[in-house]
């Protein structure tokens, strides 16, 4: 990216943190739900749990500061892991990330819809449909290739931060002035005894708050110089804002006695309690929905980018490597949209059911990425490597412990699907790679003697015809231009018509031999294939070309009325060696 296109820190924050910040919209609620299963008293744990998560945010942030330092080009977990822990580990990270990007879309859109439906209950019954519509919209914008300008991101991101800060400030103000009466103290003197597993589950769910935290370290190259310094500062800003909002919302939710509710998000309940049904409440809900949709949108650039990296390394179809061609790019966007919409329908648009799938991949890629960094420092031993190793090792170990906690406490709730999918993806990546390597070997010219010159091949041309018309004349003239041995062949359905066609042939194309093929079973294809075999055996040519007259119709639906025989011939010859099938198309005028 040219230097003048680079962005200042405040824009970088907007572009790269929508995913991380938007998780504040659902993380608190995810902590409350498992606790509420035990009883309202258990909700007291939400504050200490969120404190633990804030500590986790701090550890991961310090760890990613090291990544920014070591990879100023800005590089995702796939690269860091592949370079330091080997290709297989890199593929595991790649698989986890691809799944995560899909889940980012599903979770963010679902949470966005839930927040809209909390404010406007009409949408309550149409959550899946609304999710689908939002995905369609994001898809449409991305297909049109609207250039994302940093400014588009800035407004909703800062509006979101501002509205949440105001919510927290007003919430505290009301408590301080006595305008609101606390339903529970922030810190309890005694906490109820509840099963550890439930505490761990609540913690695991809350860890969704960390998703997207790595985005700034992936995008270092977007920043104005000094890039690394700016990126590190932005990362810390982001972590501080994320922690403040998350801790603020969770604490106030507890003090204000927010209880998770099926038809309303925790943020919406808190918003109503603090703002009432005022204008501010709707701004809060609107900005929450907007940043969530923005977060979903980020996956639409991350997913194809990672796919193209994998494709360049020959782990995905080669074509995905070139992002320049509209059609390729479109397929990626379409695939991502379908997968996300599918998830939303399967899980009925319920964020709560998607989160268990989400967190596993997020922490798997954290762990691998940080472990890769530890290895990096051990190998490079650059200045200050001991300190760096301390941060990355702490990060790797902490996120690994969290990964194990999430995978075990959320296994049955859906984490198993991701744990199953990741190795499947890795196997697919590796089989694709093995195929490309083998093909490379087969095609290689290395060690071969180059011939003095390229020799043209000799080939017979067969033109199957069903009558004589302008399209056929074009095909015959083309055939004459590409070989000296051209034969037209005609499959006889009834002898009378054959005579008529023969007579016309003498008038229009007497220089080309006209071969009549009998068809005892009324098949058009079988006699043609037999004839091709015959020709092959008698001419001993290196190749044989079939030139088929085809039509291009003026309207798409008319296409089904033509060229079916051409299609059948093509299909029949598909796997035969040394055959070339060429269509000479005749363009029909609109009818």
């Amino acid at each position: 990216m040219a230097s003048h296109e680079r962005i200042p820190k405040w824009k970088g924050l907007a572009v790269l943190s929508s995913d991380a910040l938007s998780s504040v919209a659902y993380a608190t609620e995810e902590i409350l739900i498992p606790l509420a299963l035990v009883g309202v008293a258990a909700l007291a744990y939400s504050v200490p749990i969120s404190l633990a998560i804030v500590i986790l945010i701090a550890i991961v942030t310090l760890s990613y500061r090291q990544t920014i330092e070591a990879y100023p080009g800005g590089s995702g977990a796939y690269f860091v892991v592949k370079e330091n822990l080997g290709v297989r580990a890199g593929l595991v990270a790649g698989a986890a990330l691809l799944i995560d990007y899909t889940l980012t879309v599903a979770v963010s859109v679902a949470a966005g819809v839930e927040n809209i439906a909390s404010a406007v209950p009409f949408f309550q019954a149409h959550k899946e449909a609304m999710g689908a519509i939002i995905i369609l919209m994001i898809m449409f914008f991305n297909l049109r290739g609207v250039r994302e300008s940093a400014s588009i991101f800035a407004l909703p991101t800062y509006l979101f931060i501002l509205s949440f800060l105001i919510l927290i400030a007003v919430g505290i103000w009301k408590l301080a002035t006595g305008a609101a009466v606390p339903e529970a103290p922030l810190i309890h003197e005694t906490y109820p005894v509840i099963p550890t597993i439930l505490l761990l589950r609540a913690f695991s769910s809350g860890c969704a708050a960390l998703s997207g935290i790595e985005a700034i370290s992936d995008g270092v190259s977007l920043f104005r110089p000094p890039m690394q310094k700016n990126a590190k500062i932005t990362l810390v800003w982001m972590a501080v804002i994320l922690s403040t909002l998350f801790l603020g919302i969770t604490s106030l939710s507890h003090i204000y006695g927010v209880i998770p509710h099926e038809h309303e998000t925790a943020v919406s309940v808190l918003g109503r309690k603090i703002f009432g049904e005022s204008f501010f409440y709707y701004v809060l809900q609107g900005s929450t929905a907007m940043i969530l949709i923005l977060a979903a949108n980020t996956a639409y650039s991350d997913f194809p980018r990672l796919s193209s990296f994998l494709a360049k390394d020959r782990f995905l179809p080669r074509q995905l490597a070139s992002l320049g061609d509209r059609l390729v790019f479109s397929n990626g966007i379409l695939g991502l949209s379908l997968a996300a919409a599918f998830l939303i329908f399967i899980f009925k648009g319920d964020t709560h059911h998607l989160i268990p799938l989400y967190a596993v991949g997020v922490f798997l890629s954290f762990t691998l990425s940080q472990a890769g960094m530890v290895r990096h420092h051990l190998r490079k031993r650059e200045k200050g490597w001991v300190g760096s190793i301390f941060f990355n090792l702490t990060g790797a170990m902490t996120t690994f412990v969290v990964l194990v906690v999430i995978a075990s406490t959320k296994f049955a709730a859906g984490a198993w699907m991701v744990i199953l999918l990741i190795p499947i993806f890795v196997i697919i990546f590796m089989r694709i790679n093995a195929h490309y390597l083998e093909v490379g070997k087969q095609l290689s010219l290395i060690g071969q003697e180059a011939p003095p010159r390229l020799e043209p091949i000799k080939h017979t041309v067969i033109v199957p015809i069903s009558g004589i018309h302008r399209g056929v004349i074009d095909a015959l003239r083309y055939a004459l231009s590409i070989s000296n041995d051209v034969r037209a062949c005609y499959v006889e359905i009834d002898p009378e018509t054959t005579e008529r066609v023969k007579a016309e042939w003498k008038k229009w194309a007497r220089e080309i031999p006209f071969v009549v093929l009998k068809s005892p079973y009324r098949s058009v294809i079988a006699p043609l294939l037999d004839y091709i075999d015959d020709v092959e055996q008698t001419t001993h040519d290196e190749m044989l070309t079939v030139v088929i007259p085809e039509f291009v119709t003026a309207k798409w639906w008319q296409q089904v009325l033509h060229n079916q025989t051409a299609f059948l011939i093509r299909a029949a010859l598909m796997f035969r060696r040394r055959k070339v099938v060429t269509s000479v198309r005749y363009h029909l005028k609109g009818t």
Copy 2:
């Protein structure tokens, strides 16, 4: 069909009447259901209604005897109507028949499943799934092209006739010996007053008994000589058997007090009452299911045959005309199966909900066909034409009245769908026809002066390459053989690679100009299209050929890893005039 392949009457009956006879399995029940809505007393009407239907059978049979006389080749309603009432009326009959064949499959399979589920209640909860499995089985047999020998049909058809005759005989015997006590008299002295509309509805539903009655007149050519005489005799046999079984089952159902039941067919209830849970009962249910499946199977030859007639007349895609090619035939079978399975799922495998759709089309084609016969006699005035006209006119008028009754009493219950679909089909047929006529005009050489000889065209050949390997060498040699002006072009992604490829080029293919295309936006397709435009404007050739090296992979799934660029080029050039895209395929070995 050669004379020695022709079949005797008893086999003809088996082959051609499974559709007609099998309707005995559901027609009685269809009469009972609307009557039962008023109360058990109303069921008394079932006997007079079935008598009316038997009279209708007689009228239609006498009418179709005339068709056999006039069309000894054996000809369906489409031909008779087209020839006598014009093309549009013929298309209406054709549309009605195509819909009916589909419904024959759906109704017969649904009724077959209901009879199996009546005997084995386990299947009660799995009716749709079982219907789908049976359709899959029929589809499989038809796709495999198992030749239907008349013997395969004979066994289940005669087993069905026999088991129903035994049922009726034992039923009467038990009544006569006092082993069973009649719950109602055959003929009541007084009948309850019920709304006429309900009587008409019951009658309309019972008319499903007539479906398939025309099959013998369509298949005259299958019979041994004297064909027409044999066909007429078989038709009368069939009508007598159908009437006997239908009247017998309906009368006994009434006397034995059979009341329609959601989870058991009327035939099954009657079977249990007469046979008890004996071996005979299971034979009865088994043979009923078998003849119903056989009836569904007949549609699998009728549907593609009628489609091919319509295609020959250019009302359906031309390709459907040739039944000889497996792929074409397969598509028809697949389409029919999908449509029938769809109907079964939509209507939850319930015969009762499918019947209203069925009867409209059946009687519409009867009416048109008989009316066509009237017209035929008026024009030909062959020996005995006055008598013939009497039968056909009676037939036409009667079936027309029944058609109006069915269409009006069953309109809301589903007949509207068919009434809506038929004109849509006709419009589609006519638009297809108009298209083919217009294309014929555009392609016509009539009135054109034939040139002294066919001139080859001049064309430039462009070979897009992404590197040099065996596949490319083949493509280049092919290109050299088809034109004197061959150019290879390479889209540059990074300049380093370009230099490497250029060096290899000098070694392997120095005689072909190597054109490097820059790609500022990393698109592969866009620069290539620009280059093609350039070449076109400078050479002024009549055509331009793009030769693309492609791969054929050893395993199908590997195909997705190759040839994507070829696909994109093909798609991009699809609608451009005077371009030929040729693939030279390189076969990869298994990896």
